[in-house]
């Protein structure tokens, strides 16, 4: 085994110098000549028939090259936008084209595109386009959309119901019969608007005579986009190249094939010139998919001693105006709602509903934050009802270390974990007993401190190919190429497509340890379909568990070949060769070593190779692990709620996370900082609000409040390390853990703070006004 030096080292991210100095190239920075700019005219109506689009005045405007509507473009769509299985094979959904043909279903849906010589000219001309709508009644609310007499979005489906499916196991009736206490609770997962700092953008360049299309897109999934561009546009996949250059954040919002990727490509093919579209923030909040927007109704069966016997959750999901590509991925929440706990029965139901709103799809965590919020609120509700400390309720119900690998009621198997170790560490960090005493003291002074826990597990590393194919309709695996050059430097190509995660740094660390090549001599390339065989891209905290391990495996294959070459050069038997720190030598004689650099030279001076060996020092890996990975952790949040104003202040935030092996602990901490901030955003600040007519009321960052550094506490982070048994590095995932854990931790703390007022639940976000109202209903009478 190679001596691990780089894995575990917090070296600085090599991505940062170019990013913090503004010299990285995002889509909008790419040089292009003869550019055409695309402006998208978007529906101002939530639900309407398009009676006509008057474009003659716009066509006369300066700089305009073409104006195209859905009717013009319909014949060019070889297929509608893709929709994947994602846990719900039997669902109803309409054909969704990149641009509305005769009806619009949400504000922001594309209705026409303007192609002009400058962005300003395109926007000015767009103002001159008149769309004649016949307004139809709109519906934005899940329950109203499936009530009798509701306006139906897609007549061909008969109603707004897309699916109503069960996820059940165990005898739920028996669980409720055995229960001492039963609790019913409605939990709100408000609509969230993902705010990547870089909005989306696309540059499409179709070369007419070569019949080749190159698309640069601010996307998380260049490989998926390549396939679908080929299918929808009817171009050979071998003639399509998709590049994700610098991508300024995604959080799931750049995980689907988007209309603008198709529209710019079509426009470029029509005009024979490169076409660019850059989303602005006002478009972004309507045109890029939203997250969450679910209601969870749960019934809980528990015993007086805090044992949870079973739960019966119903997940109501607002799909928006169409079914997005991964629009049913959030149903994953049902599959993992059992959390870190044992129980006897689970009786789940998921119902998907169309409304006149921006479609929803994955947003950081995608199903897991919702599931974790559910089960972690369940634990606190049981604690409140039984009078047992929330810590003890969790301990009582935990899956134990000796139960691992543990199979849940719905048939998923956890890979590893002793959930008490992160909990104990977090409790020690906050001095839990002292905190509870402080809380009691403060209450006497009319100060309302609350302590909230979250002991989460999550599913990451999507995934092994067979279960992901069965559940989502896509086979997921990791890919890498490791190629050592003539001079002994190496290039690593990965199938993941980072957008802030630091893969260039961390995967170089992985390859460096295996090959003994200095980390700075290893370049990591990604996000370009032309450079590697294929990739499954980046989402769901999957990259390191898959592509990161694929890098390790490819590097091991290269090391294996290097041993063979070294044995030949040293005239020794391969079995006697030791490979350490980039040197190969015969066991016991390290002074007579050949270096990886010498081996590399020989690999290309092929006459020096053993008979029958091909040249080159390269390996490719498609890594398909045996299971998903299951990180876990314990987060504790301490808040104080101002009884006079309802304002929440986070006094402490402690997070102990176990994501297995940490390749670069600093990068892990960075993922946690951002993730926790985003989860706090959902708990305290963020809410996408529509009015009854389907107009977005939170259409700018003045009204849609994302947390900023000054609104957040200093996070206190710690780790336990339980290597995953399902991959060679022992890594799990960390991209979403912070978001998954922090929302319930904060909300449990707030509900705990308001306990003297008889408050058992607070609908997110916990705005000051809402908390003030809860504390002062009944004239502020305390329980």
């Amino acid at each position: 085994m190679a001596i691990s030096q780089m894995v575990g080292a917090s070296i600085k991210r090599r991505e940062d110098p170019r990013l913090v100095t503004g010299t990285g190239s995002y889509v909008d920075d790419l040089p292009q000549t003869a550019l055409v700019y695309m402006h998208v005219v978007r529906s101002s109506e939530a639900h309407a028939r398009i009676l006509g689009i008057e474009t003659s005045r716009a066509k006369e405007a300066d700089g305009v090259l073409a104006i195209l509507t859905g009717k013009d473009l319909k014949p060019e769509f070889g297929a509608p936008l893709p929709v994947t299985v994602c846990f719900v094979p039997d669902k109803k959904y309409p054909n969704h084209y990149p641009i509305a043909i005769d009806k619009v279903h949400y504000v922001g849906e594309p209705v026409a595109i303007v192609l002009a010589s400058s962005r300003a000219a395109a926007e000015d001309a767009g103002e001159r386009i008149e769309v004649k709508y016949q307004s139809l009644p709109a519906v934005v609310d899940i329950e109203k959309a499936i009530a009798a007499g509701a306006p139906v979005l897609h007549e061909e489906l008969g109603s707004n119901l897309s699916y109503d499916v069960k996820f059940a196991a165990g005898d739920i009736e028996a669980a409720f019969k055995e229960a001492d206490i039963t609790i019913k609770q409605r939990l709100i997962q408000q609509r969230l608007i993902p705010i990547a700092i870089e909005p989306r953008g696309v540059l499409a360049d179709y070369k007419t005579f070569a019949n080749k299309l190159t698309v640069w897109s601010s996307t998380q999934i260049p490989h998926f986009v390549k396939v679908w561009l080929a299918v929808i546009l009817g171009i050979s996949e071998s003639n399509v190249r998709v590049v994700a250059p610098e991508v300024g954040g995604g959080f799931g919002s750049k995980i689907r094939v988007y209309p603008e990727e198709i529209l710019t490509a079509l426009a470029s093919r029509r005009l024979g010139r490169p076409v660019k579209w850059i989303e602005d923030r006002n478009e972004n909040v309507k045109a890029t998919h939203h997250g969450r927007d679910q209601i969870w109704d749960v019934e809980i069966a528990a015993k007086k001693d805090g044992t949870v016997l079973g739960i019966r959750p119903t997940q109501w999901l607002n799909l928006g105006g169409y079914c997005s590509q991964f629009g049913t991925f959030q149903v994953l929440g049902m599959l993992v709602a059992q959390g870190a706990y044992k129980m006897k029965a689970f009786d789940g139901r998921a119902v998907g509903v169309f409304t006149n709103t921006t479609p929803t799809d994955a947003y950081r965590g995608a199903g897991r934050p919702e599931a974790t919020y559910l089960i972690e609120r369940v634990m606190d509700l049981v604690a409140r009802e039984t009078g047992i400390d929330p810590v003890e309720v969790r301990r009582k119900n935990f899956v134990r270390a000796e139960d691992q690998p543990f199979t849940t009621l719905l048939g998923l198997t956890y890979d590893s974990g002793d959930y008490t170790i992160t909990l104990d560490k977090a409790l020690a960090m906050v001095d839990y007993k002292a905190l509870r005493r402080e809380q009691a003291e403060k209450r006497k002074q009319g100060k309302y401190m609350g302590i909230g826990l979250c002991t989460y597990i999550e599913i990451c590393g999507l995934g092994p190919a067979a279960p992901t194919q069965a559940a989502t309709g896509v086979s997921l695996w990791g890919m890498s190429v490791v190629n050592v050059h003539f001079t002994g430097k190496a290039t690593v190509i990965i199938g993941s497509s980072p957008h802030g995660q630091g893969h260039e740094t961390t995967y170089a660390q992985v390859a460096s340890d295996v090959l003994g090549i200095p980390v700075e001599d290893i370049d990591v390339q990604h996000g370009d379909t032309a450079i590697g065989p294929m990739g499954m891209d980046t989402y769901g905290s999957r990259s390191t568990a898959l592509d990161g391990n694929a890098v390790h495996i490819s590097a091991m294959k290269v090391q294996e070949k290097a041993r063979k070459i070294a044995a030949h050069l040293l005239e020794a038997a391969e079995g006697d060769i030791v490979y350490e720190n980039g040197k190969a030598f015969v066991k016991g004689t390290p002074s007579k070593a050949v270096t990886i650099q010498e081996v590399a030279v020989a690999a290309f001076q092929t006459s020096r190779l053993p008979k029958g060996m091909e040249g080159g020092l390269e390996a490719t890996t498609f890594f398909d692990p045996t299971n998903f990975v299951w990180p876990f952790g314990a987060h504790i949040c301490v808040v104080e709620v101002d009884a006079e104003t309802g304002a929440t202040r986070i006094l402490r935030y402690v997070a102990v996370d176990d994501c297995g092996t940490r390749i670069n602990p600093m990068v892990v901490d960075g993922q946690l900082h951002g993730g926790i901030a985003q989860g706090i955003g959902q708990a305290l600040f963020e809410e996408g609000v529509y009015d009854e007519a389907g107009q977005l009321r939170t259409g700018s960052l003045v009204d849609y409040l994302i947390p900023t550094a000054s609104d957040l506490p200093s996070f206190e982070l710690a780790a336990t390390i339980t290597p995953s048994p399902v991959n060679p590095l022992g890594t799990k995932g960390i991209g979403e853990a912070g978001t998954i854990a922090s929302t319930p931790a904060v909300m449990n703390a707030i509900v705990d703070a308001l306990e003297p007022f008889g408050v058992k639940d607070v609908a997110m976000p916990a705005t000051p006004q809402k908390l003030w109202q809860l504390m002062h209903r009944n004239g502020g009478t305390k329980r």
Partner: protein
């Protein structure tokens, strides 16, 4: 989006700027720091066809004391106000308010004249100027005139400035020794506009409140004076129970609006709480 097309001129003197405004009438808008106007133009909510950029007119950025008054040039940035030693010593209400506007980038560009002329009912300086009985000096084609703050703020985004007038200077009587001010702002996030804020300037002499001026942000379509509070407190010793009772009257004559951040009831409640806290803070060391 890009703003709609507009023409742009950069006059070097105030008379030149006024002449441009006269020439272009209602079509023209004055551009100072640009932190309110440019976002509105990029949303195409405001589509002036002519911008008069007064940013390069000399001698409009200053803070000085003269004749018992503090004079602040209209182009003085929030940052310069926040860090002014003169204001820290004599007019802490303004430094306190300035430090809570937006974020450092906004404070580096935004100007007090722009903030006053924009008259956002949730902006921070208008309530301060109203509480301080500021005088606003404006230059127009007929020369200069002085407008009292109480007459200046008319309605949401509306002042008594004529379209061809430019705000030149803000003058505030230097508060007497012992007079103290503070700005208490309540918002969801630190950088947001106020849901409600209280600008308070109070002087306690011996055992008597000899000066009390309270301006409220977010309690109507323009900044309002909490005259009920002022009446209740003026001439009183300023004991805790008096402060509390006086603060209750912060809602008198207010007409707060409903929005995503707060109902009228919640705003009224916040006005009372913040007023009491401001009064307690100022009188704490007496």
């Amino acid at each position: 989006m890009n703003p709609a097309a507009f023409d742009y001129v950069v006059p070097r003197t105030l008379p030149e700027a006024v002449a441009e405004l006269v020439k272009h009438g209602q079509e023209a808008k004055v551009l100072a720091g640009g932190h309110s106007l440019i976002p509105l133009m990029k949303l195409r909510l405001s589509t002036p066809s002519f911008l008069v950029d007064i940013g390069r007119i000399g001698n409009l950025s200053y803070i000085r004391e003269e004749d018992g008054h503090i004079a602040i040039g209209a182009l003085t940035t929030h940052h310069d106000i926040e860090f002014s030693d003169l204001l820290k010593n004599k007019l802490r209400l303004l430094t306190s308010a300035a430090s809570q506007i937006g974020d450092p980038q906004v404070r580096n560009r935004g100007t007090i004249g722009g903030a006053a002329a924009h008259a956002d009912p949730n902006g921070d300086f208008p309530a301060c100027l109203l509480a301080l009985d500021a005088e606003l000096k404006a230059v127009g084609p007929k020369g200069e005139r002085t407008i009292a703050a109480r007459d200046f703020f008319v309605d949401t985004f509306t002042t008594s400035l004529e379209p061809n007038e430019i705000l030149r200077e803000i003058r505030i009587a230097t508060p007497p020794p012992g007079s103290k001010g503070t700005y208490l702002k309540f918002s969801r996030r630190s950088q947001d506009w106020a849901i409600v804020a209280v600008a308070a300037q109070v002087r306690v002499t011996g055992h008597e409140v000899t000066q009390v001026a309270i301006g409220l942000t977010g309690m109507g379509s323009r900044p309002v004076r909490a005259s009920g509070v002022e009446q209740a407190l003026r001439g009183k010793p300023g004991h805790d129970d008096e402060l509390r009772a006086a603060a209750e009257r912060a809602v008198d004559g207010t007409d707060p609006q409903q929005d995503l951040n707060g109902s009228p009831d919640y705003r009224r409640h916040l006005a009372q709480v913040l007023t009491r806290r401001a009064l307690e803070q100022i009188t704490a060391h007496h």
